[in-house]
Structures are given as C-alpha cells and as structure tokens.
Symmetry: C2
Subunit: 397 residues, 2 copies
C-alpha cells in the first residue's frame, strides 16, 4: 500500500521514540530518571481538580469550535495583566499548544514554502511543517555561542521567495535561550519588512531565570497586528500537560478565520478540560514565583553537576526547563539505546532526548541530547552521577 510522501518524510519524536525500550527496562526492574520529556512533576493547582469535581452537566456536549467563552475570557484576563489587550475574536482555543501550532502551520505554509526556525528546535515543528508540504530553513547556532540566533543579517540572508514565516520559541525549547526586548523588536521588524508571519511559541513564558519580569511578543501585537501569531498553552504554565488546552492568539482576523476552518473540522476542544483549565487562570502570582524558584534550583543543580563531567559542553539556560548538552560520545541515539538496554548503575539508568533530529542541518547535533530538568534537584544530581559513570563505561566498552 502506498502512503503519503509527506508522512514518509516524518520521523518518530526523539522525545518519545525510546518509550518502548523504557517499558522493557522497567520490566527488568530498572529505575529510570526521565529527563527526556517535559513532563513536570509539579502538582497541578487545586483549581483544576475543584472544577472537575464541580462538573454537573448531564450530557458532555460539544463546546463551540473556537472555544468555550469562559476559557476565552480567562485568556483575555491573563493577557490584560501583561498589558496585552485582546478581543475575544483574537483568541482561538485549541487542543494544547500542539494543535495551535498545527492549525497555524496549515494556514500559513503551502507546498514548497519555507519557514525560518533557529536550530536546534522542538522536533514536532518538523513533522508539522512536512505534513503541510513545507521545509524548515534553519538559523544555525552553536553551543559555544550560547545558541544565540538573533543576528539580523544572518536571518535576512535566509529569506527568499518561498519564505512565509519565522517560528521563534522563547523561552527556548530545547536550548533555554531567552530573548530580550530588543531582540524581539528586531525580529518583529524583520517580519514586517519582509511580510512574514512571526509565530511566537511562548509555552514556557513564565519560566525565566534572568531579569525581573517575563517577556512576550504580545508587547508588539499592536505594532505588527498582521504578522504576529502567539502560541500559548496551559500545559507547562500550570503543570497541566494532560489537559490538552492551548490557544492561538492573533490580531490578524483573516488568519483567525482560516484557523476556525481547521477548528470546525475537529469540532471542539474537550468541554470539561476547558472548564477546568479556565479555573487554572485564577492562581495568584505567588504560584509562578514558587514554581520559578524551584526550576531555577533544579537548573543550577543540573549545571553544576554537568560541569563536573569531562568533555561535556553546554550553556546555562536562561528560561524554559531544558538544556542542550554536547556529550563526549559518538552518537546520542546509540548511547540512549545502550543506556536502556545494556547499562545500569545500582539498578538505575537515565533517559534524555537525543538532539540530532532537532537539527535540520545534516550531521549537526549527533552527539547532543536535550535534558528536561523536571525532576527534584536530588534526582537530577543522581541522574548526572549516572550519566558521568555511563559515559566512562560506554567509551571503554
């Protein structure tokens, strides 16, 4: 049977592809430290569970395709506090940030179009772009330069007649790169000058460890109303990844009208999840401060332990909860499989996301991994001890 050439070009997620090996390792009684997936261990705020318990409908009905009004209003209120004024028509509720990205890419990218994305990037960007028939044009970066990509001339040299959009993740997944106001402004200017969409994936907005206040492209939404598209989600913000509630935000009403076609084709977002997610927006600022401090502590533990391992290269991430490390090994995918199938230290091993498929440029990132510091500091410290030992054993096989 013949399959679509577009799906043939897609791969399995490097974050999830080693899941079957992990299942096998666990069957053998091995304990795994999961630094492969951005699944925070932080408790979801009680507001979610209270809303769930209060749910009293007799029939679990479809919600309106653009989202339940209560959820739309929660997003509006949240942005108002960031001095970003949105009308309800600027917001479309989606099944997580993933669907927000999917709809946006489907509306914006055509066959043979190009989208500019700094590499390494979140690998699902590649699956979604390929399914739309488009290609990622990467902005190359290096670990030595802290994965910095905000070089105007370099970016403009990548723009051609096929370029339709730039996709920027800040705080960055997988690199933890955090843009400042001037960098954002520069990217907005490029988008305006070249008639490009600027898709800002801000799933990790609250997770910043430098500066006093969070930054968002929302600040520029009235300056570039036709260009800016913000991807948002409750997943990381409220440690509610399994709720699958996110949104698309744009002042470009033509874009929103197109995304509504996609939204209608999947009918609606789960009703109860929207009701409960709307309540999450009632948590106070102290929640974010607490969570931020916890992740900062974890980041610091990770970085100090990593610095002890000979041959490892990394940059201290300034936001999100990921770090890309270059390891002194031949191939991170082989190493990961070996970690799960052949290695353990006192019955324990560790899982990362190999970073090779987070690069578009062939040959880049082969010996790199993304680490998600979503475990308690003591567990991260132990995981790094295991890694140190594993690298030695692996290289002396």
């Amino acid at each position: 049977m013949k399959f679509s050439s577009k799906i043939e070009k897609c791969g399995l997620s490097p974050i999830r592809k080693f899941h079957p090996y992990a299942v096998e390792a666990k069957k053998k009684g091995i304990n795994i430290y999961h630094l492969n997936i951005g699944q925070p261990d932080v408790e979801t705020p009680q507001e979610y569970f209270d809303a769930v318990k209060r749910f009293n409908d007799k029939t679990v009905e479809y919600a309106p395709s653009p989202g339940l009004p209560v959820m739309v209003e929660a997003v509006q209120e949240y942005y108002k506090k960031l001095n970003v004024n949105l009308e309800s028509g600027d917001i479309l509720i989606t099944q997580g940030g993933s669907e927000a990205l999917n709809f946006t890419i489907n509306c914006v990218l055509d066959n043979d179009d190009e989208i500019i994305i700094p590499e390494p990037f979140y690998p699902n960007y590649n699956t979604l772009s390929r399914l739309a028939g488009a290609t990622i044009r990467p902005i190359e970066t290096t670990v030595e330069d802290g994965f910095k990509y905000t070089y105007k001339e370099k970016i403009e040299s990548l723009i051609n007649e096929h370029t339709r959009a730039m996709l920027i993740t800040t705080p960055g997944n997988p690199t933890g790169v955090l843009l400042n106001h001037d960098e954002m402004k520069m990217l907005v200017d490029i988008a305006k000058e070249h008639d490009l969409f600027l898709i800002a994936d801000e799933a990790y907005r609250e997770f910043f460890y430098e500066g006093d206040s969070l930054s968002t492209f929302g600040e520029f939404i009235d300056e570039a109303p036709e260009n800016l598209i913000i991807i948002d989600t409750v997943s990381k913000r409220f440690s509610a990844c399994g709720a699958r509630v996110g949104c698309i935000i744009s002042k470009n009403r033509e874009l929103i009208a197109h995304t509504l076609k996609c939204a209608q084709a999947r009918l609606s977002v789960a009703t109860l999840e929207q009701l409960a997610s709307a309540e999450l927006y009632n948590v106070g600022p102290e929640y974010f401060v607490k969570v931020r401090n916890e992740y900062k502590k974890r980041r610091d533990t990770l970085c100090s332990k990593l610095a002890e391992i000979p041959g490892v290269k990394f940059d201290v991430p300034k936001g999100a909860f990921y770090l890309v490390a270059s390891l002194p090994i031949d191939d991170a995918e082989k190493f990961q499989q070996w970690l799960l199938e052949e290695f353990n230290d006192n019955g324990e091993t560790v899982m990362f996301a190999p970073a090779g498929s987070m690069y578009q440029t062939p040959g880049r990132g082969i010996n790199e991994v993304r680490m998600a510091y979503v475990l308690e500091s003591e567990k991260i410290a132990r995981a790094m001890d295991i890694l140190k030992k594993a690298i030695e054993v692996y290289n002396n096989r």
Copy 2:
C-alpha cells in the same frame, strides 16, 4: 499576507457556520430548535461522571501518545464482543473521530491524490482532504434512489491512477444509509482488487433501525488487513461528544506506525477524558437498546411530519440520526439565514445544516438540508410545524 492555497480552498462547516446568526437570534429572545448539529440530548452514562469524580492524580500528566492502556483495553474488549479480535497495537487513541480521520487522511493521501466518497458526505471530509492536498471523487446518488451508492461498476469507473482510498460512513452521515453484509463485502473486494485503503467511519454504528444486529467492517478485518481502517469514537455511542475521545483501528501496522508520528506531534489525548471514556465501555447492552428505541421513535416522528409538507422529498433513514431532505425552496443557505434573521413562529425558529457543501458535484444539493433528529419527538414535531409554515412564508415573500 499570503495564506496556504489549501486552507483558502476550505470553507466553514455548514453545520457550524450559522452559529453567529443563532447567537444573534437568541439575543432577541428567539427559541431555536437545533436540528443542525449531531449533538444528542441523551444523558451521558453515569460511568463517565463517576470516573471524573474519582480522579485523584496530583499532576495532570501527558498520556502516552498512542493512548492510555486502560482506554486501549476498553476498545479491545468492546470489539471482542463483536467477534473482532484486535491486538493493542491495532488501536491508536485519538482526539475524537475527527482526529482519527485527520491522521488517517494525512497518512494515506498525498498532493493530487483522490479519495472516493459517496455524496452527500460529512463536510469535514472535504476540509481534511483538501488540507492534505487531495480531492474527493464523489459517487453520485439521488434522494429518489435512497442515496444508494453500492454499485460496483459505478464505483470502479471512478478509480484511476490517483485513487488511494474509499471513505465509507455506515450508518451514513448525512443520509442514514446503512450497508448490509453483501454491500460491505463488495466494497472490501473492490479495495483489495485495486489496492485501495477502505476507511470505514463507523461513528454511528449502534444507531441502526433495521435488522437485528449491528454491522461493522470489523467483520472483514482479517480478510483485508492491509486495506481496512476503522474510525471510531465515544461521541455518539455514549452521548459524550465533548469528551473528544476516539480511535483508529487497523491491522496494517505500517499505517499505525505512520499515524503514531502524527500522534506524537500532538503529544497525547487528554488524560482524564481517556480515563472517563474507558469507563463508558462498561455500560450494558440495555443502554444501546434504550437509546436506539428512542432515536427510532424520533426518526418516525420526523418522517411522518415531513411527509405532510408539500414538495419535500426524502428517504427514510435506516441508521445514524440524520436525514437529508430536498425542500421546495430556491437555496437552503439563504433559507437558513432567513429563518434566523427574519422569521419566527410564536418566537421560535429552526436550524438545519444546508447540504450544498456536502456535495462535491457542482450545483447538487443546493435546496437540500441535513436534519439531525437529536431532540425529543415532541420538539421534532414542533420544529416540522415551524418548517412547514416557514416554507410557505418564504416562498410567498
């Protein structure tokens, strides 16, 4: 700004596009009988709500991309009772039947490919096919022939080098056409002979009003393991449309592997919704008998009332809960808008889904509507009285 040519070709759902006008009508105090959308008024079984109340996790975590094991097992058990033996690897849990269709179409259809679908069809098939770059090749039918499409020679005459799949909805949405064993067998044979995928959308499987037992293409899954793909959902079966839980079923493991790439790109299906939906499968057969009898009664009311309206043509639907009627009016979209903006009978009006965009063949179905008989019989009777009066007023304006 330039948008994708594929999204430009898509339209708004005829089922949901009049929603803004309905909102305005309601603001004026008008009561609307909603026959436009397949949102059953039947209560969701208590099992769903009990599971929701029991939910005791501290963190709402991602589920595995292919689905929670408990949900996969629930689907397996359900099919076992229908004598369809599935392994867990034959099932991928999705965000409703809509996502199951989306993934399947993305994996199976390429740019310039064709998919054969009887018309009138569920209009989202068109959005999903267009986004994949493909085109629907319709099997034409007529209301006079009861929308029958199972003519082997006619179907084979539509197959060419671009044809990749047939998509069959049984029981049919929007027509209520129900296939018998021989008709299914004939379609399976065509799929095998011509190396086509046969996508069977069986969202309405339990809703049949002829014969003693339900029918499913699952019966043929061992006979055509490479060709058959079944689309399933809890939405209509358990009146849980707002849960957004469905699945793809196939013995074609290469297909399932491709759909997993799509599944990983959206991470997971809502955790709590899967837990609660799995419990729905514990309802006994008496639940389906009761629901079926209720819908049969509604169908009978609808048909007897419709038969009283001069100039209306329809066929008695044998399954699902829809009926396509040809109305003695010029244009069903204009008529629907007029019904919402200018007409009311004692403060009440009625909403249908205009059927024009359920046809691929230009000019077909302009004066047809899809009616969903998802309201109590008395309400359906009243809605038909309103329709009768409205047609008279509309044609005498």
